[in-house]
Symmetry: D2
Subunit: 361 residues, 4 copies
């Protein structure tokens, strides 16, 4: 079938390529004419404006927006102004599902169908296909199902779930009508919330492996930090790239994120050049807020989000407050210089401070 694509960044362009490979016809537009030209060179019909795109599509049309979430509101307004009743407007970006609910309500009287699609797949989507979570009216979903089928991964080599038989259901092909407007991005939001948690579980675990040599490396410790107890049990120098590779095979935690971790560690075993300041896009935040709203405990998902904040030093003031309190009740500086002598057969300047501090807390 025919699809108009607005926004030819990596995701938008690759979806167009995947569609054209499967025989669909794509009319494409981007504010950057070069991006349009490139895809036109690959077989797409280029458009010079939104109006031009609409003119080049036969009614009832389907137009997919693949643009930054911050711009979606404006573009939805612009596109819907030139569409006709019965046309379908798809937001495939990473919008907050709340915006979908609002936009669908706003478009209700125009007769334009609004469809929200959460897509997952990253840079590998062109080959692997994209997992599609769809929200919107039944009628619109039915009409765009042919293109969803193409964009989605299909059954591929994923083993069939025991108990399923017959023709594969849409979810077995990698796309699903999740519910009314907003449901697609809601499911995508939770997907990313889970992703944060899974990533954090892996990252924490590898950090523990990396510190399995604490009994060797922590021979010297500060007076203010609890010494390692039983160093004899932390004498391992674990080869984390090899372990990541190992766990890909037969282990309970084998997963695509582990595959990526193995690839990253194989290419850069010391992770040199990575500062460890971890960004977060909106979905993790929205997921935690949805959990709070609905009274669902989500300590793991929340902790994984807060770890990212802390990686960017957003915990700084809190930590200073903690140091300030310790200075008050213990009378200690952050960087202690020992000045008290204690019994015990030796001059034990620095550890004496640790003692008085903790005994006194």
């Amino acid at each position: 079938m025919q699809l108009g694509m607005v926004g030819l960044g990596r995701m938008g362009a690759n979806i167009v390529r995947r569609l054209m490979r499967d025989g669909h016809e794509c009319v494409v537009f981007d504010v950057n004419p070069d991006a349009v030209d490139t895809l036109a060179g690959e077989g797409a019909v280029g458009a010079t404006s939104l109006a031009d795109m609409v003119a080049k599509l036969e009614a009832p049309r389907a137009i997919w927006l693949m643009i930054p979430a911050g711009l979606t509101g404006t573009v939805v307004d612009e596109v819907s102004a030139v569409l006709d009743p019965g046309d379908i407007l798809i937001d495939g970006g990473n919008s907050n599902y709340r915006d979908d609910v609002r936009r669908a309500a706003k478009l209700k009287d125009t007769g334009i169908h609004y469809v929200d699609i959460g897509t997952s797949g990253g840079v590998f989507g062109l080959e692997r296909g994209y997992c599609l979570m769809v929200g919107g009216p039944d009628e619109a979903f039915a009409r765009i199902e042919p293109i969803l089928k193409t964009i989605a991964p299909g059954g591929g080599d994923v083993p069939r779930t025991p108990g399923r038989s017959g023709d594969p259901a849409p979810e077995e092909l990698g796309y699903l009508h999740c519910g009314p407007s907003g449901a697609g991005h809601f499911v995508k939001m939770v997907h990313n919330g889970i992703e944060y948690g899974v990533m954090a579980a892996l990252a924490e675990g590898f950090n523990i492996l990396e510190h399995a040599d604490a009994g060797i490396t922590q021979a010297e410790h500060s007076a203010e930090i609890a010494p390692l107890e039983e160093p004899e049990f932390y004498q391992f120098t674990i080869d984390t790239p090899k372990v990541a590779e190992l766990w890909r095979r037969g282990s309970v935690i084998s997963s695509w994120l582990l595959d990526l971790t193995a690839a990253a560690l194989h290419g850069n075993p010391t992770l040199e050049g990575l500062a460890g300041r971890v960004s977060d896009s909106g979905e993790g935040r929205w997921t935690v807020k949805a959990a709070v709203d609905t009274g669902v405990p989500a300590p793991v998902l929340a902790a994984s989000l807060f770890e990212r904040f802390a990686s960017r030093d957003e915990d700084q003031f809190a930590n200073q407050i903690l140091s300030a309190m310790r200075l008050q009740f213990g009378g200690h500086q952050e960087l202690p210089a020992g000045d008290v002598l204690e019994a015990g057969g030796e001059k034990a300047e620095s550890s004496s401070r640790g003692q008085s501090e903790t005994a006194g807390e």
Copy 2:
């Protein structure tokens, strides 16, 4: 090569089967003669006692224990008493790696090689193979490598990690020499710690999906519980079995644990019959303690462990303390019965209590 297997529960028996399929010779023993007979019927050499097993193996021997962790200490003592210098004693169970360190030290002067192997694979290991994390001396590892190769999954259909070439490394075949005694179970411990975190991330996420209809179902709320704000954004009835299936294809969180979740939800969409009292074996606990010992932040792994404790009501006294404090400062019962009238054009008994409680906190 030859291997003696002690303990013919599901794991031990299946490992023996996998070995025999590949041409290895197995001498087997279990306190349950029926278990021995079964495997003898499939081609193994049955033994009637540990001594009998030792007699039936050619030196230098390799004996694998696949028994409950609580019994391992005793059996290690029993077996090592009848072994000779140069023999290899393998603990393939789920021992605490600290016990490996202790046992290896104890056996050091006997000339018996002690090897610890963490195995992952669950009930699917017979077909999929088991992921093997090995600790112990180089020499012993080299000698048992042929059986490790057989038990492990091999390369299978897992795509090769970009950048790897040439003959596959052991970790690409599903087994790895992680370090000296204890290193195998240490890596397995962290594996399970991660597993807890991944499972919790999935479980929390599905719980949020399940509550996406809060705007429909929470129409009535208690005076003591914060009401749902903006119920218009929680109007989705999500089909969680379908979503689990969907995410298996092309999504960032595709993983074996997700496969299992999809299978579980397909077979039992309402999870009927499951009380939600979640057990924990030792590894999650050991992982958190190792993180604490080595000063590694592990909030996600710890939270996932504590969620399991709470699922078994181990939070009960803490929760009672919280209710008791609220009773003190707010003067409220857990189950309030309104008795105060407030302004606002209507009798607002119950919500008035909520007001005074929180305003007063």
Copy 3:
């Protein structure tokens, strides 16, 4: 000075009493005429309607609403409709500060000053005074300062902070102009967020004390639950009511919430009759959402909120998912019945299950 009070629940009535004791004149209204009569009998001027109250106050007026948050929006509209420019409308309830921002904006052109006050003090406020966090225009704050001074605790017997001298600042007397509209309830919101965290820290700690006898009581354990390691270190039967009392004196964690805990435990050492289903009002939720919005890590505050959700079994579906996964990969029921025999010199039915499950994970 003169104040109109709308809402004569416990908080509103006690604030009126505290004001009258100090010579202020109060006009009072409630939908419940009995509540009005009671306070009229103690010296207040009773009003029969909002309009009657406004008529009985001299302009420029100050009216304080002490009503359930759910009703505040309506009553603000009703009262502001009968007020004159220059009058002050105070919301002293537990509103979301976002509502204050919205209401102040809405009233901006009317000339009515909107003031939001977060109050803390609980049932002890009548005697102790209420801690007052005020948001709104400077002019309005200045005009109501006399009544704030009366309602607040004053300096009392709280030792002066080192370094402070001269006349006490407002914050030393228990009230503070925190900023423009919404700032009062914002600070109150964070106050309650902290309160959740402090309460949880105490509750978790007492729960650990309560389980210090695990080495005595956990002699028998399930095959599915990790056994207590080193039971010799958990042989204490701690008298928690006495410990709570003890810590009130000289300890670093002495606090009012600890005082309340001591009182609760002294009166009801086993906390009998408390189900441990812990309510939460909105502030804890709003605090976590504010942390998420502003990118501030708040794992402790979030965990304390989620513990409350879990106390009300909102973790149920997540826990069922966990059990369902374990059933899948381990092949185990939640309530295992042993059926496999293992080596080790004894029939070890139940522990064999634990072994195979964890070794196989």
Copy 4:
């Protein structure tokens, strides 16, 4: 009564001073002769060695060790070698309660009574008194009760808990016999675990207050970080030193730790000079491990401990792993430089990256 004090750091010296003020006789020793001379100048009997101290005390003796935990084992051995049956040996430092259990067992046959005392009070103990948590045999507790009474704060001006009457119980005077050997340090350990949680709750809350101006300061944001939604609700510049002072009066969270926070912020409102690298002594770690051992959920206490680890950058490798994964699946650098143009009426280089990354996850 008579007491020997070994270790004249700040804590030990101040306890001696408090005892002498109340008429007790103290024999004192420290490896630093100056420390001995100072206290001798204030009325104590100086000793030149442990043997000299023992000689100067009448049997049955009581000797209090106030030395760094790392030295306690050695000194306990040295002192017990020169003591007689019936003598009491007190460890008042911050030992792990497990060491008490071991030491008491070791001394059992010598007839020397071993007593462990957890002390809390910090630098203010000389004036305020020390909260004393005591473990050990009944007989020994009874004999040293006179000195405990002196060292403890006494009833002071702490209001009596409702329902208590008659002569004050020991816990109302600030000391308590918590149980057999180890119970004192066990209770102290949990005390400090709670302290970590309370401190973290306060620190997180103040951090949120500090970021209440995010709507003003976060006008510009990175493409990789979720933008602040609804900046109109984060327009407050909160004076945190004043808020800390305010909450000391009448609020639910008034506490000694809040008093200290107020003092710290008043003296140093921007917390200049504090790096925010927060130390932790052993007790917080031991508390979390005890919770894990006994199956008690302690997410708040654990999170507060992990925050301290993270403040010292112990999360670094985990964060690098997270960045490495994001680089893999999103193809993004940590510090993105926009290079893709998107539709929407404007050049949107940087946000296009944010879009493709999250839409693709």
